[in-house]
């Protein structure tokens, strides 16, 4: 592809802290975390064709587990981080097994129900989650002596992981596994008759998506040093799903573009109006009605054909 453009983009992103103030650097970190999160969901929605409405569960679980390990177990970051990722991914494996008992809209309903169960637990299981007060008093790690409490250092740390995650996803979807994953989306029955284990492929995608969601959750909890049950709400699952669909599911760049837009919209709009949920809902309906394939495929269609693709 346009390697030069990609390099320029990366250079611009890396130089961001030199150009703008701390507020925007922190906003940049939040956007990058949202990009990772959206990319992880895109694995399911875009490539496997499985619309999950409960993806906040993995970000939230990871954030809560990391917080709990640090606060209640007094564990250091070096141990807590891998355990968090492992535990969240394992829960993702179980949830995936449950949700993939069904397909289509039942899958969507199951993912929503499962994430609501986790959300309910975060609110009610106060002895572990501290309920509505959330877990606070967390810290950021300091790998190799680099103090990530510094906003710029944290931004570069998140950028590094974002690049790694996007690279892994890019490789994955162009690998044989990625091809078979898209096969299960478009022609599940044919894939099955060709000897592919459709269920297994989908489950692997689900586990992969929950692992990357856990990565986003870890970065999230490091950034905010606080976690509240609202991170598990339907609203946050809907935000990330909107990012994927608005940007363009099944493209690498789409969910990233969508995540940038959703975070910016949330940050700026909530400065002027307090009705973020209404705006989120309205954008959702608008996107579904007007731009069902998302922004990136839409713009790409405009560029290649000079007019909008088929309606």
């Amino acid at each position: 592809m346009n390697k030069l453009a990609l390099l320029l983009l990366l250079a611009a992103l890396a130089l961001l802290p030199a150009l703008v103030g701390e507020y925007y650097v922190n906003l940049g970190s939040q956007i990058l975390i949202a990009v990772i999160f959206a990319a992880s969901l895109n694995l399911l929605v875009g490539y496997a064709g499985l619309t999950s409405l409960g993806h906040a569960a993995y970000l939230g679980l990871s954030a809560y587990i990391a917080g709990w390990l640090a606060l209640r177990m007094g564990m250091s970051h070096a141990f807590a981080a891998p355990i968090t990722l492992l535990a969240t991914t394992a829960i993702g494996g179980v949830f995936g097994w449950i949700a993939l008992r069904a397909s289509g809209l039942s899958f969507l309903m199951l993912t929503l129900a499962l994430s609501q169960v986790v959300w309910g637990l975060a609110y009610r299981w106060t002895s572990v989650t501290n309920g509505d007060n959330g877990l606070s008093g967390l810290t950021r790690p300091a790998p190799f002596g680099i103090d990530l409490e510094n906003s710029n250092a944290y931004y570069w740390f998140v950028l590094l992981i974002t690049v790694a995650v996007m690279g892994v996803i890019g490789r994955l979807v162009h690998s044989p596994f990625g091809a078979s994953l898209r096969g299960t989306k478009d022609q599940a029955r044919r894939m099955s008759s060709m000897g592919y284990n459709v269920w297994g492929i989908r489950w692997c995608a689900f586990v992969g998506a929950s692992f990357l969601g856990a990565v986003a959750g870890l970065l999230y909890v490091y950034f905010h040093k606080y976690v509240h049950p609202s991170v598990l709400s339907v609203t946050s699952s809907a935000e990330v799903l909107l990012s994927v669909i608005a940007g363009g599911a099944g493209t690498l760049a789409g969910p990233a573009v969508g995540a940038v837009l959703v975070v910016l919209l949330k940050n700026y709009a909530s400065g002027y109006i307090e009705r973020w949920n209404m705006l989120l809902g309205a954008v959702f309906v608008f996107i579904v009605l007007v731009m069902p394939h998302g922004i990136v495929p839409g713009v790409r269609g405009l560029l290649t054909r000079g007019k909008e693709g088929k309606r």
Binding site: I98, A102, Q116, M278
Partner: protein
């Protein structure tokens, strides 16, 4: 003993509310293959409308009827104005209902504020009644009665009327139903109205138990989803049965192990999905 008795009636009453909520959801899902995510919001709107009507001096029964009709109208509008434009794309329809549910929840917050609004039950059902030395919650008993009557009417509607026959035909094979002259358009709208009406009725009748508060929609929708998955997607009898199972589990779970009530809810769902993925009474199609 009094504890178990009270909790049993609480369970049955919650089961009754879930029955109203979930049978509407199941009806819409069965015919139109849409998971209507506004269903929790419609339930909440039913509760709010009933609360406002009661405050404005309406009688309780009249307030309930008004709430049910208002949500039915709203359901019809959603189907006609939004979902109709997305015919044939079930996923887009579901996402549209998700967006609408956010808008509706926020509208309720604007219109009715953030404080819970209690709804007083009608005077003659306000207090408990004493029989055989135990006190029985009279309003809970009335809720159970209403939901059982509604379930019976729904059953008769589905099995014994022309509209029910058309709906069943549509659920079985929509193209064939169309070919024999059933108007799908009118059928979809009436089913959506009926489903919304049941949700609104549930919210209004449940008002004195739950009161109307922001977040009621998010509390009820997952329960409806769990009921429908447990009962078998598209099976009315399965939905009836699962409503009461979940009513019992949730009530007793909350009373006995409040921290983990949510996990207990989800256990029967896992067991059913493991052994009968199509639900307790689900057919082959799901």
């Amino acid at each position: 003993m009094q504890f178990w008795l009270t909790q049993t009636f609480n369970s049955l009453a919650l089961g009754g509310l879930l029955l109203l909520l979930s049978s509407g959801f199941a009806l819409i899902f069965g015919l139109m293959r849409i998971a209507n995510l506004t269903h929790g919001a419609l339930f909440m709107i039913g509760a709010y409308v009933a609360a406002s009507a009661a405050r404005a001096g309406w009688g309780f029964a009249a307030a309930v009827v008004l709430a049910a009709l208002a949500t039915a109208l709203l359901g019809g509008l959603i189907e006609r104005l939004i979902l109709r434009r997305l015919t044939g794309n079930a996923q887009a329809q579901v996402l549209a209902t998700l967006g609408l549910s956010f808008i509706a929840a926020d509208m309720c917050l604007v219109l009715w504020g953030g404080d819970p609004i209690p709804i007083a039950p009608p005077g003659w059902l306000a207090g408990p009644v004493d029989w055989f030395g135990f006190s029985f919650p009279s309003y809970r008993i009335a809720v159970i009665g209403v939901s059982v009557v509604a379930a019976a009417l729904l059953y008769v509607l589905m099995e014994r009327t022309r509209l029910g026959a058309r709906i069943r035909a549509g659920v079985d094979d929509m193209p064939m139903a169309r070919a024999v002259g059933i108007r799908a358009s009118a059928l979809f709208t009436s089913v959506f109205c009926l489903g919304a009406l049941l949700a609104g009725l549930g919210g209004a009748v449940g008002g004195p138990m739950l009161s109307a508060y922001p977040g009621l929609d998010a509390d009820m929708l997952p329960l409806a989803l769990i009921v429908v998955i447990l009962g078998g997607v598209g099976s009315l009898m399965g939905t009836f049965l699962a409503s009461f199972i979940i009513g019992f589990l949730y009530t007793f779970g909350t009373a006995l192990v409040p921290d983990l009530a949510y996990v207990i809810l989800f256990l029967p769902m896992i067991v059913v999905l493991a052994f009968r993925p199509s639900g307790l009474m689900g057919g082959a199609r799901a």
